[in-house]
Amino acid sequence: MKLLRPIIAVIIAFGIGAVIIWSSGSSPLEAYKGLFSGAFGDWIGIFDSLFSATPLILTGLATAISFKAGIFNIGVEGSMYLGAFAAAWFGFTFDNLPGLVIIIGAIAFSMAVGVLWGLLPAYLRVRWKVDEIVSTIMLNYVAILFTSYLVNFPFRVPNVANSMSERIAPQAQLPRFTTGSQLNIAFFVAVAVVVIFYIFERRSTLGYEIKMVGLNSLFSRSSGIRNSSVIYKAMMISGAIGALTGALLVLGTYYRFYDFFSPGYGFDGIAVAILSSNNFLGCLAVATLFGALRSGGSMMELFTGIPLDLVNVMEGVIILMVTANLLISRKRRAQRT
């Protein structure tokens, strides 16, 4: 039942996409053939799809864990920026260390920054009752503009047009699988995080606490669960995974920090979390679907001339349909005894 809705949403999205393609005078069949062969047609296509999915898996998880605790956290984008810069800084500063040491150090440092960053909106919410939607949106600006300042002034690489940091040490670049695709170890790290989250949710006391606080905070509080401590912990994890997303992009894809590098991965994570109803395995599935759409979409654009924007429209339709469903079922729940 739970799976049915997103699947129907996807089918309808493809239907609407077909109408748009058809009305612009192209053949939907040809376009979708391009899309699918781009996404799954050969090994490179599959690799590219998984590569595109990697940041979405992680931002989806980072968002879902806070949503589970009942915190409407929009701030994953911000923690990703800070995490990316932290990893880049570590990577170009300690460039004479062995590769593995830099990688582990950069990731650890980045996640530590993310943890601290996640604490901030949690503190504002717990201590001052500041709505986390507002605070995390504001903090996103702070994070993005702060990293922008860093690469434009103190850490600017002179004599290049774009603002960017130094390259990280070459031995710290995450290995790729083939020369034809950018897919790298980061994908497996993301899958490992999914597995860890999945086990964590089912087995750990904190997983149980997060679920209870998110479902009914009056119940959890009167049972003796410390809601605010659970909120802190959930937001720390969210910040850490958001930062990890940025670190892996720097270490595995860009090899440096670029000003405004993200096309909105953090916000995509919100869609991924909502579509999967905060289910961690669902995040993996939805992110992979989106990754496939995106990498297949660029192939479609290349071969049929239909712009990649179509994929955005289709994603939008899927999100709209599932969230509308969500609203309806929530209303039903409110009406029930």
């Binding site: 750990s204 006391t205 119940f219 003796g224």
Partner: protein, 502 residues
């Protein structure tokens, strides 16, 4: 031919047959009570009549014509309305806004506020449903909220009014006025159907009584042919076991000590006023009082939901003021919440998750950071058996339990931790006769074994039978503490603020 008939209704849920071929009819101008044990299928049957559930088979006839009720909307169109146990009002909106919500009298698209208020006022006068239409819902009492629910139905011209345990949330005087409203409705030719567990109420108010058991209708009898023992037998199929006699406790020591406790709410009102009392080991200390005189605040301060207050509270000699709920629970306090739907349970979680919420940190339920779900499940199974919770599986959501079974879940969890002190707020609300007697028995046995119990109840009979001493709460003050033999009339007067303590 009767006005409304339900014919051969069958409704199955996963693992239970909630309604097993039920046929029952209702007349115009009658008050019809529905009784039966927790989980007998009463709410389910009424939700079918209100279009909330669709029966697997069977039909509903009104004036001999078949009614198809696909949703409550259809039911309201047919003149059938229902007041649920859990009210469905928008707390921040005003009374009249709640009443006309979704049914505004609009003229050229503009809401005619004056006219709708006038209509509401007329209805409320006609049936004796006093409410202040301009107050927000959050500021009126539970009894008034219920009147708003009734007004909502009458505003939509309901001829059949269904009430699911309407009296379980009311004070005795509110119950009286509700029954007056019932009689006015009846005089007007309307059909009143109400579910209850209190047979005295049934004998006082109902014209006919339908008894359900295990999903089946045991029969419908008119009041003249009924009696409390007869109905009990029909419901339970046997006698109710006697409760354990209370033992004399020799060496009593104070467990909970309140000293000059005052609480001022955020809006500056003094909700608790200089309260001092002690609860001893082996004692049930009852709190009597009209709802809204500080009970809620007393509960919240005792368990630690609110921690900003004046005065001191001690537990076994230790100061409690600074401790939070977890710390207090660790010291041996347990809390049976007054609201099983919103506080006592998590409706969207399963029974296991509901039963371990106070104990999941402890061995054997978890070790280090990992929960041992197998042990949790075994524990839940055994608790559910002990407390007679009717459930098909421990993995089902709490929301699928009947109201009374939900309350049993709360009690099963809270008493499982072997507490030293139990804060029991309305512990038998919504429970059937058998379960009520079981809870009473459990409380007395706890008392006999030297535990301390603070019992807050809207049911004076319950207080009189269980308490060793009763404190009467009026406007946040203890007007007095009385000991047996209790004088019902005296306590009644004290509840109204008269200082008549002997």
């Amino acid at each position: 031919m009767s006005y409304l008939q339900m014919e051969n209704i069958i409704k199955r849920f996963p693992g239970v047959l909630a309604n097993d071929n039920v046929s029952v009819d209702f007349n115009a101008g009658e008050i019809h009570a529905i009784v039966g044990e927790n989980g007998a299928g009463k709410s389910t049957l009424m939700k079918i009549l209100y279009g909330e559930y669709q029966p697997d088979s069977g039909r509903i006839l009104m004036n001999g014509k078949e009614l198809v009720l696909r949703s409550p909307r259809d039911a309201i169109k047919a003149g059938i309305g229902m007041v649920h146990q859990k009210f469905m009002l928008v707390a921040s909106m005003k009374v009249y806004e709640n009443i006309i919500l979704g049914d505004e009298i609009a003229k050229r698209g503009v809401l005619n506020k004056k006219q709708s208020i006038e209509t509401v006022r007329k209805i409320s006068e006609r049936y004796g449903l006093q409410v202040d239409v301009n107050k927000p819902i959050s500021e009126i009492s539970v009894g008034s909220q219920q009147r708003v629910e009734i007004l909502k139905l009458l505003y939509r011209k309901a001829n059949v009014l269904i009430f699911d345990e309407p009296t379980s949330v009311l004070t005795p005087s509110e119950v009286e006025s509700l029954f007056k409203v019932f009689r006015n409705l009846k005089k007007d030719g309307k059909t009143v159907i109400f579910i209850t567990h209190k047979l005295e109420e049934v004998m006082k108010t109902a014209d006919r009584i339908s008894v359900m058991k295990n999903g089946k209708l045991q029969g419908t009898v008119s009041k003249e042919d009924a009696s409390i023992p007869f109905l009990t037998k029909l419901m339970v199929g046997g006698e109710i076991p006697k409760t354990t006699p209370r033992k004399n406790i020799e060496d009593k020591k104070p467990i909970v000590e309140f000293e000059s406790v005052s609480y001022i709410s955020a809006d500056g009102v003094r909700r608790l006023n200089n309260m001092s009392f002690q609860i001893h080991s082996g004692e049930i200390f009852g709190i009597a009082g009209v709802e809204g005189n500080g009970q809620k605040e007393l509960i919240e301060i005792t368990i630690g939901i609110k921690r900003k207050f004046e005065g001191t509270i001690k537990f076994n000699g230790d100061l409690l003021n600074k401790l939070d709920i977890l710390q207090r629970r660790k010291l041996g306090m347990a809390y049976i919440s007054e609201d099983p739907f919103n506080i006592g349970t998590c409706l969207d979680a399963n029974l296991i998750e509901n039963l371990i919420s106070t104990r999941y940190r402890d061995i054997p339920f978890s070790k280090g950071l990992l929960i041992n779900w197998k042990r949790c499940e075994e524990f839940t199974e055994s608790q559910i058996k002990t407390y007679g919770v009717k459930a098909a599986s421990v993995k089902q959501r709490a929301s699928t339990l009947s109201g009374g079974n939900l309350q049993k879940v709360v009690i099963a969890r809270e008493l499982s931790s072997d507490p030293i002190f139990v804060l029991a707020a309305h512990p038998t609300k919504g429970l059937d006769i058998k379960a009520t007697s079981f809870v009473h028995d459990t409380l007395i046995r706890l008392r006999n074994s030297g535990k301390a119990i603070l019992l807050i109840s809207a049911n004076l009979d319950e207080l009189l039978t269980l308490s060793d001493r009763i404190g009467v709460l009026y406007r946040g003050k203890l007007t007095g503490v009385v000991a047996p033999p209790f004088d019902r009339e005296q306590i009644g007067l004290m509840m109204l603020g008269k200082d008549v303590a002997k």
